[in-house]
Each structure stands twice: as structure tokens, then as C-alpha cells.
Symmetry: C2
Subunit: 343 residues, 2 copies
């Protein structure tokens, strides 16, 4: 059996209707509210075919039909590309120029959640491959040394090291020079054991301090291992009865709180994106890398804040989410983030 034009139209009508109402949709509804001018009986025949093809399914006999994951997939893949979206006006006001990236991200998550009524997440830009740009030790106290490491993209990381014996200013200057000349411009992969022991040798009695600093550098570069993820609008899931029952809600809420699980989503999106796919990914039902979201759909997008720092935005909602609107909104948002950092 083939999926002809009429079947596609009917499928589209079913999905549209289901997105709106959340109720299984019957043949009579389709017959009445489309311009196909077909009787409900004909629609029934077609629907029967569509079910056989796996695009829709019946929750139980004598209920209407609801889209299957495969149906949603088709909808998202083909029907959507027909018309490039009339752009959803984003409340631009809310995104003021903010120096602090994390503040900005939180705000983006919130605005998105407010305007879509879905749950949202956003990951801070990953900086995995960045290089050391600047290292500075300073004496804060007789026994405390402040280490500051700046990596490319101006991500700053610092820590305080405790030293047993007081260091002279001169010694600190020397160490500063040593560290900067040795490590500057290197990424984490490039700093190997040989280099470290050579540096330790040069540092003489302060070799311990050197290890401390190296650790700090390593920390700074792999800061994204415990990736920062901001979420908002988790309570929106209660808007959708199919997600609001206790078991599912509890699992989802948990996923949102323990950001570790969300990072799978981020990683998956980033790797998909790297492999040349579209910047916007749609995961429907079981396609998601996060188990607890198997009853949801997730739309993710990759954004870039210049200098190759990439982050991920995700919108999590019911399978019957308004794909049109969500994808439109994400596109707008991405171009705005882009514009923001072009400045």
C-alpha cells in the first residue's frame, strides 16, 4: 500500500486536530472539518489504511485515532518543510544585553518556557577544546596562593591553594613566568606527564605548588564535565494530562532536577549536529536518549556564542506539541543569540 496525497492530507488533519485537542480523533470530525469533501465512511477506510501503515493507532477499539511516533515523524519531517515559518515574535525586550552568560541563559530558559508553555532547558556553552590563555598566581595570605586560569573564550577559573611555607614575591614571579611560558596556548590534551615533571623539576622545592596549579588548569578546561544546565517551566508538564499522572510526572520532574540526565540530551544533540545534521533536532517518543522522556517529544537546537562555544537549547513537551511553533521560536531565538554575540 502506498501513502498517496489524500492519505497524507488526512494524516495531517488527524495530527493537527490531535495537537489541538489532545483527544483521539474520529472519522466524522475529519470528514466535517477538512476541505476534502469526503464522507466519514471513506475517511474510515483511509484511516484503516493509515493504521495498517503504522502512522496512527487506536488507544482501544471504538476510540478515535491518535498519531503514532512514526506519524509524528512524518509530520515533522515533511509537512513542516513546506512552509518556512512566519516568524514568531519573541519578547525581545526580555533578552537585555547581559554581561553574565549564566544570567542570560537562565532568562532565555524562562522566556522560552513562558512563551511556549513547555518545559525548557539550556546548557551553557561547552569549552572542551579551548586553550590556556593566561595563568596567574598571587599571594593572598602568607599561606594562601590564588590561582587564576583564563582559557580561550574568556572563561575564568580560580582556586585557592594552601602552602606550608611562605613564598617570596620573587618566587611567585618566577613561577608565573614558568607556568605561562610552558602552558600558554596548550589545550588539555597537549599537557602531558613529561611536561609536568619537567616543570616540577624546574620549580624545585615548590614542585607541589606546580601540581596544584596544573590541577587547577585541568579543572578550568574540563569545566564542562559537570555541565551547567538551566531549566525552566518544568511545571508546564501538568498542563498535559497524558504526562501529568503521578508516575510520569515524578520521573520527569526528577530528570529536570538531576541535570545529569539532561546532559545526555545535550551530548546527543551536539554530536548529531557535528555529524552535519540540521541544527534543529526533533526526538519523538522513543527516539529520545533520555528514558524518562519516552512519552514526550523533545526539540533541541544548537546555538553558538562565538569562538566555537556551542550550547544546546531543548524544549520538552508532549508528543502532541506544536512543532510548528516550537521550531519557529527556536529558530528566531537562535538568530537572536547570534546577533547578540556578533555585537
Amino acid at each position: 500500500m502506498q501513502l498517496d496525497e489524500r492519505k497524507k492530507k488526512i494524516l495531517q488533519a488527524i495530527i493537527r486536530n490531535y495537537l489541538e485537542t489532545g483527544e483521539p480523533v474520529g472519522s466524522r470530525t475529519i470528514s466535517k472539518y477538512t476541505d476534502l469533501n469526503l464522507s466519514s465512511a471513506t475517511i474510515r477506510n483511509e484511516m484503516s489504511d493509515l493504521e495498517e501503515l503504522g502512522y496512527i493507532l487506536q488507544p482501544h477499539t471504538s476510540a478515535g485515532r491518535i498519531p503514532s511516533d512514526k506519524g509524528y515523524r512524518l509530520y515533522v519531517d515533511t509537512m513542516l518543510e513546506e512552509k518556512e515559518r512566519e516568524i514568531q515574535e519573541m519578547k525581545e525586550v526580555l533578552i537585555e544585553r547581559e554581561e553574565k552568560t549564566d544570567q542570560l541563559l537562565k532568562q532565555v530558559a524562562r522566556v522560552l518556557a513562558d512563551s511556549t508553555n513547555y518545559a525548557t532547558m539550556i546548557s551553557a556553552p561547552a569549552i572542551r577544546k579551548n586553550k590556556v590563555k593566561f595563568i596567574q598566581l598571587s599571594k593572598v595570605d602568607p599561606h594562601q596562593i590564588l590561582t587564576v586560569v583564563v582559557v580561550e573564550g574568556n572563561v575564568i577559573k580560580n582556586s585557592i591553594l594552601h602552602v606550608e611555607e611562605e613564598l617570596t614575591e620573587e618566587m611567585i614571579l618566577k613561577l608565573n613566568i614558568l607556568l605561562n611560558t610552558q602552558l600558554n596556548g596548550l589545550s588539555l590534551d597537549e599537557i602531558n606527564l613529561g611536561m609536568i615533571s619537567a616543570m616540577k623539576a624546574q620549580a624545585g622545592i615548590h614542585s607541589e605548588l606546580v601540581s596544584g596549579v596544573i590541577d587547577a588548569v585541568a579543572d578550568a578546561i574540563k569545566a564542562d564535565e559537570d555541565m551547567q544546565i538551566y531549566t525552566s517551566g518544568a511545571n508546564n508538564i501538568f498542563r498535559y494530562p497524558e504526562l501529568a499522572d503521578q508516575k510520569k510526572a515524578s520521573e520527569l520532574i526528577n530528570t529536570f532536577e538531576e541535570k545529569e540526565l539532561l546532559s545526555q540530551l545535550v551530548n546527543d544533540t551536539l554530536s548529531e549536529e557535528e555529524s552535519g545534521k540540521n541544527a534543529i533536532q526533533v526526538y519523538i517518543g522513543d527516539e529520545t536518549p533520555v528514558q524518562s522522556m519516552k512519552d514526550c517529544s523533545v526539540v533541541t537546537a544548537t546555538y553558538e556564542l562565538g569562538e566555537g562555544m556551542k550550547g544546546t537549547i531543548g524544549i520538552i513537551g508532549p508528543k502532541r506539541m506544536d512543532y510548528d511553533k516550537v521550531i519557529g521560536t527556536l529558530k528566531t531565538l537562535m538568530s537572536q543569540l547570534d546577533a547578540l554575540y556578533k555585537k
Copy 2:
């Protein structure tokens, strides 16, 4: 009418039983499962009195009784002080010595949530009154100056300032000395406009840079304005049917996600604590400063990480939470945090 010893015992029995089961408790239950040796009829009379006194209430005629807020309050205030708790063994292993305070706090929240089955929150130590300890400017790029500010308690804050014309190393050294001599040891309140303009005058053409640095200092000190709060176990609320209905759950989840609301709780706890009250606060029902928690009980405690840096821990659960256990756990935890930072 007076609350005699026997009434107290019956009230206690009612509350205990309700805490366990979550179901309204009837006279017969009390008659059977206490050592009072009274018939259910007598208990009924007493219960009727207790209801008149406002300690218990009936959800509807012909249901058992449940404790009122007033009843819980009495229970927490008096019954609990009788026996100082046999200390709940905390999974000490989980609290490893962690350099990073925020990591530690996250872990504490999680452990608490796991071991109590309630939702938990923990606020990072406030550093409002701390003083500037160290300021350092360094040139990262020809046009980028890194500012590092360390305040007491070793909280470090940094930002990158953009400058139009390149500064010489010498100039930076001069600015460093100027800033450190002027600002060292001052708290935010003590840095006034007069000082700032005096410093600007001394900085000459680099007065703009000075304002930048001052801003950074201000940021560092009032970092707690957007207070860091970590939460865990929000999904535990689904364990308690009386909180798990959609409306309440949605509100609670939202409160947990938008940490702003929780900060009211933190502030209230801190101010109560400052006014000499006990270190552990119990908010029952309407007593809470956070509207959305009016169907919950909240137990909060203040902890101290040395040097006067105080934070708050909160446990949020149903009114029928196991007050005994929660308070015991909090006490243990606080002494452990104490020990941790005595080291």
C-alpha cells in the same frame, strides 16, 4: 476546658498514628493501640474535647480525626523536647571532603532528600558583610584586563574588562597598588562615593578602569543577592497523596525551580535565627513565608561554615512529616558540617 495529661497522650497518639498512615484516625484505633486502657467511647469524648480545643479536626462527619496546624505545633514544641533524639546515623561516606563548596552543598541536598524522602533545599553561605581581602588586575590581552577580587571567606570573583588603549605593565602595577591600599579591609557599606572619586583622580586617564573595578568589587561582595540555592528530591512530593494533586504539585514544583521564592524561606530563617531563636525552625502549614507551601511543613536549620558565613538548609514535606527524624537528621548534619570546617 484544660489540656490535661491524658488529652495530651491521646493527641500524641493521634498524631503519631496519622504520621504513619496518612489516614484520619478513629477512636477505636486509639483505644486499641495505646496503653491507656480506655474504651473507644471515652476516647471519643476526649477527641470531641480536643476538637473543640482546636488541636484536631474532622475532614468530614463520620471520618476520623486529623491533627490541625495547632496540634502539630504542640507536638513539635512540647512532645518532641521530651526525648533528645537517638542520633540518626547519616551516610557519612557521602560527604567527602570537597574543596568546592557548591559541590558539597549539592551533595548534602541529595543525601538529605534520599535519606528522608522529602524535598530539600540548601542555600549557599551568605557573605554580605565580608570585606575585601585582595584585588588584582592583570593584562590578559592588549585590550582585556582581568580583575580578580577576593573577599573574606575566600570567595573569589572575577571579570574581564575591555580597555580601549593598551596599558603598560607598569601602569597596571600602579593601579594594583592603588586599589589594594585603598580598598583592602573594607566592606561594601564602607566604600563611598568620595573614595571612589578620589581614586579616580589618582588614576588619571585610567579613571574609567577604576569604575570598572569598583563595579567588580561590588559584584563580588553582593554575590549573595542572587542567592545560590540547590534543591533535591522535589519529586518526593509525589509520595504524599495530599500534596500530589495536580494543582498543588505544579505550584510546589514551580517553587522549587524558581529559587527566588525559596530565598524568602532562607531570609526568614536567617532573621529568626539572628533574633536568638533556636537554630532549627519548624514552619507548619500557614506559618510558612512561602505561599505555595501552605499545605506543607518546612523544617529549616542554619549552618555555619566558619568566619560567620551562614547558610540555610530546608526540608519540605507534608504536614505529617516525621518531625522527630527530620530534626534529628538536621542536627546530625549540622554538627557534621561544623566538624568538616573545623578541620
